[in-house]
């Protein structure tokens, strides 16, 4: 059964690459350009997981993560950022991110982490908090 993911990333090149990769891995994928857009989409769409960039305009990943944890405590979140933002990644883990992946993103590692983090939520029956 295909899981549905929200990818929140401001750089279009990266989000389109992620979309390709994840659809190839049999996920349904919805793209958002920043945290605010991501939150708006979550009102409409029930997703099984979120792939969240940290550094974005309008609303960054940390702020969105806080809101997601407040409103949808159980959705698994995988944050992504460059190594030089290590501090932000640590903050994201403290705010409830389930795991992180470093940019530039390694495709095999992405596949492994997505299947572990997002499929685990399926087994625990934590889908769709609504």
């Amino acid at each position: 059964m295909s899981l549905s993911l929200l990818v929140v990333e401001d750089e279009e090149d990266i989000s389109l690459l992620l979309q390709d990769r994840l659809m190839f891995l049999d996920f349904y994928v919805t793209l958002a350009k920043n945290g605010a857009e991501g939150l708006a989409l979550l009102e409409v769409l029930a997703v099984d997981g979120i792939l969240l960039d940290i550094q974005m305009p309008v609303m960054d990943g940390l702020t969105m993560l806080e809101q997601v944890r407040e409103r949808y405590s159980s959705i698994p979140v995988l944050v992504m950022s460059a190594e030089l933002n290590k501090d932000k990644l640590i903050q994201a883990m403290e705010r409830g991110a389930n795991d992180y992946i470093l940019k530039p993103i390694d495709a095999d590692l992405l596949a492994k982490k997505c299947s572990l983090i997002f499929s685990a939520s399926l087994e625990q029956g934590e889908l769709n908090p609504s």
Partner: protein, 122 residues
């Protein structure tokens, strides 16, 4: 090419549906409430209507009832999306001829299956 009418006052809701449906090869039109939807449905043919319920001017259910009452010829199948999926609303929607009701936030997989079932019957 199959044509779908999307009815929702919430812009991100319309956009995300449109993007997904167009990727599947459907043509989409968007309107913001039930009254605009009725005008569009009178003006041209649609193969499916996907409508939110809670909207200003005219709700989804009001639009569906008015459609059932006024159209002599066949009306398109309708999928209703709602933030408040009470039993009452669901049964009213069924009575008015709605094909499927989905709570919001909806699951893409479920909605997608329903659309395929309606538009591409085997």
């Amino acid at each position: 090419m199959k044509r779908i009418l999307i009815v929702d006052d919430f812009e991100p809701g319309r956009l995300v549906l449109r993007e997904k449906l167009e990727r599947k090869g459907y043509t989409c039109e968007e309107v913001e409430n039930g009254s605009e939807a009725l005008k569009n449905l009178q003006a041209s043919h649609f193969d499916l209507v996907i409508t939110d319920n809670q909207m200003p001017v005219m709700t989804g259910l009001e639009m569906i009832r008015s459609l059932a009452k006024n159209s002599n010829d066949q009306q398109p199948p309708i999928i209703l999306l709602t933030g408040n999926p009470s039993n009452n609303l669901c049964s009213k929607a069924r009575e008015a001829g709605v094909e499927a009701v989905f709570p919001k936030p909806y699951n893409e997989r479920d909605l997608s299956l329903a659309i395929t079932r309606i538009l591409e019957p085997r």
